[in-house]
Symmetry: C2
Subunit: 205 residues, 2 copies
């Protein structure tokens, strides 16, 4: 997300970058009041006080705006997760924190104020680029923790790393996908601890 | 399901039992053509050639009919799973088969002919009794396999059985819940093998 913003800003100049952020902020507000699906770019233009043509200079479609809102939201979850992981000592505890924080932060951002759920749900359901990139970064973070644990002797090394990483990501996936997460509400309190304990037993050297 | 049918048959007599089955068969056919949500009991009565009052003698609501169709469908999945588990030698292989068959059989019954998806989705989303009972039976089967593996020394015994069973069920749950399963289509080919391998590593003595 940061990269996209940076490169766009570089090609259009900093003023454009500010206008884009202004549109995104206003759109976030508007979508949260009237819903993402129901709002058109015309509605948005009227609400912000820009012309439709002016908005199209910065975003090629409503989805492009939604994608940026979504990317910001996913980045916020990722930052929460990275902060929790960085704070923890040792790979096993980092893995526990990863499970716990992904569930907690996803619940907060997708559901607590309900604001972003509709956009995040479209993004996940239609596999928007922001979702795909987010999932890849989470997979990368998971691999880093696994590698660290293997190096320190906390985790077994017999199973190919790819296989371990893939299987653990499959366990985690239902809790970071907003459309699936809504069917896991009954489990969100206990699941992170149970699942990370199971995963840690599977990683025992 | 069988128990409900048996006790109902006992209190109403075998003829009633046959009428109930006849209504369920006709309703399954009708729902598959016109959809469960859109069909009313009046539509159903007209299509079957019974009066609405006659149908209400046997089922108190459309949901009661849907619940029986759903129960039949879940029973079919369960029978597939039990057959696959019974066929396998040893607890580890039984567990592998359980994962594999639940995914395969759920995909077939919920999605392949699309017939039952809508009913199964309502049942899972609204936690109908048939779904709750099915999930409990699958949990029971899982516990049986775990206990057998513990007795034979295939599985570790340090972790409390309740905890192990709960965690593994959480891993399995996204693949037996029709509303979640639809977001896992990309994974259904590989996931059962990856997840059961991870679970078996976690169970190593």
């Amino acid at each position: 997300m940061k990269n996209t913003q940076a490169s766009t800003a570089a090609s259009r100049g900093p003023a454009d970058h500010e206008v884009r952020n202004q549109i995104v902020a206003a759109a976030t507000e508007h979508f949260s009041l009237y819903g993402y699906e129901k709002t058109t770019v015309s509605d948005l233009a009227k609400a912000i006080g820009f012309s439709k043509a002016y908005i199209y200079k910065f975003f090629e479609s409503k989805q492009a705006i939604g994608e940026m809102i979504c990317a910001n939201c996913l980045l916020e979850i990722e930052n929460d997760v990275r902060a929790a992981v960085d704070e923890a000592e040792g790979a096993p505890e980092k893995l526990r924190r990863m499970f716990k924080t992904i569930v907690k932060s996803s619940l907060r951002l997708f559901f607590q104020d309900r604001k972003l759920y509709e956009i995040a749900a479209s993004a996940a359901g239609e596999r928007w680029a922001a979702t795909v990139a987010y999932e890849q970064r989470i997979q990368g973070l998971l691999r880093d923790i696994l590698q660290q644990g293997r190096l320190n002797g906390d985790f077994e090394r017999k199973t190919p790393l790819d296989e371990t990483a893939k299987a653990i990501y499959l366990v985690l996936h239902p809790y970071l996908h907003p459309l699936i997460l809504q069917y896991n509400f009954d489990n969100t309190e206990e699941a992170p601890a149970h699942l990370s304990s199971l995963v840690l037993r599977s990683l025992a050297p």
